[in-house]
Every structure is written in C-alpha cells, then in structure tokens.
Symmetry: C2
Subunit: 340 residues, 2 copies
DNA sequence: CTGAAAGCGCTTACAG
DNA sequence: CTGAAAGCGCTTACAG
C-alpha cells in the first residue's frame, strides 16, 4: 500500500505536463480540455490527444477551488434504515443513476443524526454544488438547509413552506384514481389507511380518497379512516379496525402499509381480493412476491430523480425561472383488486 | 436564488479573516484550528473562539488541495436496485452511519454502469481518500479499482484475489451452525439453496452446509442442492425441486431466496415449519412481516461497516500492518424453524 | 486565438 | 511558540 501511494504521487500527471508536452500554455490547455471557446481546432485536438495519452485526470479539488463548482451533489435521506424503507432505497438508487448520466457524483447524507462537524462543512461548504432533500427527511436540522446558502431541491412536498423548489409526484388526483378503481371493481365500502397527517403527501392522498367519493356521489365516512405512519407494522396494526368496520376495499397511502394490511388479512382469514380489495401507493412492493400482487399507484422514481437533478443544476447555474415540478404516477393493476 | 448565491459569496469567512481578527498569522490560525502542536494554549483558545463566533467553515476543496486529504470515502455498490437488494440497502445505510460518526462524507457509486468521465475522475483523483467496494459489485470495471492508486477495502470476499484487504462475515462455520440448528430441530433431510458459485461467499456457505453433515455423521446428498442467484425469484423457482425431493429442512444461502422458498411453499400447501423448516442468511427479512418469521444468520452490518472504514483509514494513513477482518454473525431463531 | 499572471483558500516545511 | 513564504493544481479575466 505504501508503495502504491508513492507511485500515485510520482505518476501524477498535471495540467502543466499536458501543456508542456503540447507546447501550449496552461490556460490554452485548460480551455482546450474544457471545451471552452478560444482555441484553434488543431490545438484543441492535439491537447486532448496528449492528455488522453498521458492519462491526465484533472485534480477535482483544484478544479473545485478554482471554479467554485464540484460536480457533486448531496442527497439527504432519512436515517431510518434503507432496508425497511423501500421508498428511500428506490429514490436513493434513482438519484444515483440519474447523477451518473450527468457525470455528477452523489454524496449521501443520513438525516437523523446530528451531523458531525466535517459533514456539516460538506453540506455548507464547497464540496457539493447543491442538495437534494427527501421530504421524508424534513424535520430537525434538515429544515435549516433550505435557508442556507446552498442550492436545494426538495423531493416531495414541504409540510409548511411554499418557497422551496420541489419535485413531487401528483398525490391527490392519483389517489382519487386509485379509489375510483376500487369502486369500478365493485367495492361499496372503501376504507383508507392514511400516513402521518403532518406530512403534505399523506394529506393530499387522503384528500384524493375524499375526492373520489365526492365524484362518485358516495358518502364519505370518517369512521373508515385508519391512521398509520407509513411503516409496515402500522398497516398490520390498523387494518383490523377496517375489517371490523366491514370494508370491502382499502386504499392505503403507501405500499408498505398495504402489505401490512394484507398480512393482517391473511392472519384473520380475510381473503384478498375476494373479500377485500386493496390498492397501495409508491409501487415499491412490485418485486416482493406477495400474493396476490398489489395494485399500486407507481411512482416513476427515475423521472422524479432526473427532474430533481435538472432543477438543481438550473438553480446552481443561476437561472431565475426555476419552477417546481409535478410528476404524474401511474396506476398499475395487480391481483389485489382483481374481480373475484 | 440569485441573491442567495450572492450572499454566499459576500458572507464567506475565510481563514484569513479568522487570523486577522485573532491577531495571528494564517499559519498559527491553521495550527490552532486543526489541533496541531506549536500554538500557545491561550492563542489556540482565542482563535477557536473567534472562528466559532465568525461561523468559520474551512473550504474543503482548499483543504483537500493543500493537504491531499478529503475526509470523504467512496462506496461502490451494485446497481441492481437497492429496493430489491436488502443486503445492499442495509450495507449502504450502515456505511453511511459509520461514516458520520467518524466525520467522513460518503460518495455513492453505482457499479453497473460504465462510469462517466467525471465519476471516473472522482474515483481515481483526489476527491475521495479511499474506496469501500461491496463484493457484490465485483466484476466489470470495478475490479480495476483494486489495482488503481486509490486505497480500497473490499466488503466481502473476492472470488479470486487474495491480495485485497477485506472485511467479511464468517460464512462457513456460521452456515454449518445454521444447518446444525435444523438437525437439532429434528430435520432428517435438509436441502440447500446456494447462491452463484462463482462468488466466494456462496461457496463458503455451501461448504458450511456440507461441513454440518460431516460433523453430524450424516450423508451429504448432492441431489439436495438447488442453485439460485441470491434473488428472491430464484428462491421461488428452485424451491419446488427440493419439496419434491422430500426435504424437511432447507438452508438458504440468503434471506431473499429463503423468502422466495417460503412463498413457493405457501403456494404448494407446504406448511412451515410443520412440514419444512427454513433457515436463511443475512438477517435482512426480519422486519418484513413474513409468516412465520424467518430464522436467519444475521450479519452485524454496523460492525462490518465500522471495521471496513477503520481499515480503510489505516491504509490511507499509510499503516503497513493492515489485515483483513472476519466478523462472526449470529443465528437468530424465528418461527420458521420452530418445533411443530 | 494565445499566454502571463493572479487567485481560489487552505497546509506545511522552514527559519526565526 | 510564531510568521513569511511557497505550494497544492486548477480556472479565468486580462492584455496582447
């Protein structure tokens, strides 16, 4: 290892080497390499060839220091274990993939813990160009980020603030569509498992549930609202009350609680979809081999991530017209709402 | 947003500001702030107080450029979606958490895609001090990383190379322990679902299965080996052959395939644990609300991640005695191996 | 189109 | 213990 590091130091090829070998100045070499105007085509070509040949890799720290840009973005996600948070895992992965296609690095920041000094520095000083913040992470020190000097884009909807640029999935109409689907499949009495109502997305999804009833001219029964916390266990725990209330359909505000409800159903001998049909939201349980497969409002994670990054880059570039975006999800039908 | 960025530029407080206000030189201020020797205690105290008061945040790019160290490590994980790879999600999260306690940043690198130019630079040039590589990501361009000039630690075991520093869970004896547990619970005919045998961990876990038979003086029947790929679907697909071979116990090399097998069992009316008992490996399905709960060899992800980071830091620090580490997992008993 | 020069904000021998 | 100076490796006005 020691010798490796020694090699590293001695083998390092810098812009000066490229410039010298190319017979041009450092500035010219820099312009050529960065595709900036003001270099004769043949010079540009020669510099690039020589750089390739030398295996030149610009030192990012130096670039960063000189230009003020790092080509690295940060991602703040909740620290609840990614393993038990399929939404967070899917989003993290989508951001990673979207970043790679734009030649950006991604720094991962777990939201729960108070960040240590260095990590705090990373957030607020230089190493990253901007920050993607999952709305799931909103709360505690995370909120302060929106007021810091760093560019931020929220993935999701902020529970209270309207002055932050965000990209979110369309929650209300998509939820209404899901509930309407239950009606169309013959459900007469549809219950709802809602997420924590201090979250804007949870509220919007509940609103969609209400809206579907209104549109269908059906009575809206507050008794059929069960309160979960988006965790699987909460779905298990609250589903019983809905079964007892005699529902024949359940709209769950996310897939995790829907899966929990299905587990509770299996335990009670409630058959799905025969006795009760279920729709979830997120599309995170598709590959989970649950039986029957879960009908769900599927989030296009890749599109959401790509859009969020593009908005962030626009803000970093100083564009003034950056607008929040809304992405429309798709209802994917599975066995959990099939006709009996 | 524009004004924000403007503020950022004007509000920026640098080491020079701290030094000037403190009435000392920049070098003295730097030494004081970084806890380096050669500063009078009262000066050190004053500098730190003033830095705090000014809200001084050292520019990481400048620090990095000057010192050659970034306090950021990279994590290379497979690009198979984190959502369907609980192992990857758990490890990613554990690394993030371990890094935060050491004041390190974590850069995320998805392994499948050929990395773009910039990301390639990040890997090999300056922005990170070292790289944690998940063995799951081994293959393609990832392997070249071990021969690059950057410090690397493998999480897992390399299929072929022995010259890489790694931290891995103990696979063989732990697997033997799992199979022995099945014997103790009364199983007479235990099948095995193995992972891809080009992977060292998959081989070691199979070896443990064989070893347990040897230790128990039981015949080892190659007919009872089913070949999966660590994915849930493969567990579903190959479990049938084991059921048909009349097994009353299954050791699955990971939890995902075990859950798949349980799903297949439910489909065929095979009762667990009454007809067949199952043990998995990883401990990633604990919170999944499967019924019955899955007995599993649980990996201590946090310890693995912490150890890996500490080894990496030791390599970066130039220590010569860095040894690979093996972490012993724990058998956690669930309902899937309960006595009928 | 081209190059000399200044500068990004730190750290680190080196000489007092 | 302290400070002046050089240097990390780039980018970017600026003047030709």
């Amino acid at each position: 290892m020691d010798s490796q590091r020694g090699q590293q130091a001695s083998e390092r090829v810098t812009l000066d080497d490229v410039a010298r070998l190319s017979g041009v100045s450092r500035s010219a070499a820099s312009r050529a390499l960065n595709n900036r105007p003001g270099v004769r085509p043949d010079v540009r070509e020669r510099v690039n060839r020589i750089a390739d040949h030398l295996g030149f890799r610009p030192n990012r720290a130096a670039q960063n220091l000189a230009s003020g840009l790092s080509s690295v973005i940060g991602l703040v996600i909740p620290s609840s274990d990614l393993r038990v948070d399929p939404y967070g895992a899917a989003m993290t992965h989508a951001v990673g993939r979207a970043a790679i296609t734009r030649d950006l690095g991604v720094m991962l920041h777990l939201a729960h813990d108070e960040p240590g000094a260095t990590v705090h520095h990373i957030l607020s000083d230089g190493l990253i160009d901007g920050l993607l913040i999952s709305s799931v992470a909103v709360g505690s020190w995370v909120d302060g980020l929106f007021d810091s000097s760093i560019a931020t884009v929220l993935i999701g909807t902020h529970p209270t603030r309207t002055d932050v640029v965000s990209v979110d999935v369309e929650n209300r109409d998509a939820s209404a569509m899901a509930v309407t689907h239950l009606f169309e499949q013959g459900c007469e009495r549809v219950g709802c498992i809602v997420g924590p109502l201090d979250r804007a997305d949870a509220r919007a999804r509940l609103e969609g549930y209400r809206l579907a009833h209104e549109q269908a001219g059906r009575p809206y029964d507050p008794q059929l609202i069960a309160h979960g916390n988006f965790g699987r266990l909460s779905g298990v725990n609250v589903a019983g009350s809905l079964f007892e209330a005699g529902v024949d359909g359940i709209y769950s505000s996310n897939d995790e609680m829907a899966v929990g409800a299905m587990w509770a159903a299996a335990h009670r001998g409630v058959r799905i979809p025969d006795d009760v049909k279920i729709v979830g939201f997120d599309g995170t349980s598709i590959d989970e081999f649950i039986e029957p497969s879960l009908t769900s409002v599927v989030q296009p994670f890749d599109r959401i991530a790509s859009t969020a990054i593009d908005l962030l880059l626009a803000i970093v570039a100083g564009r003034a017209d950056v607008q929040s975006a809304t992405i429309v999800p798709e209802l994917v039908k599975g066995g959990s709402t099939a006709l009996a």
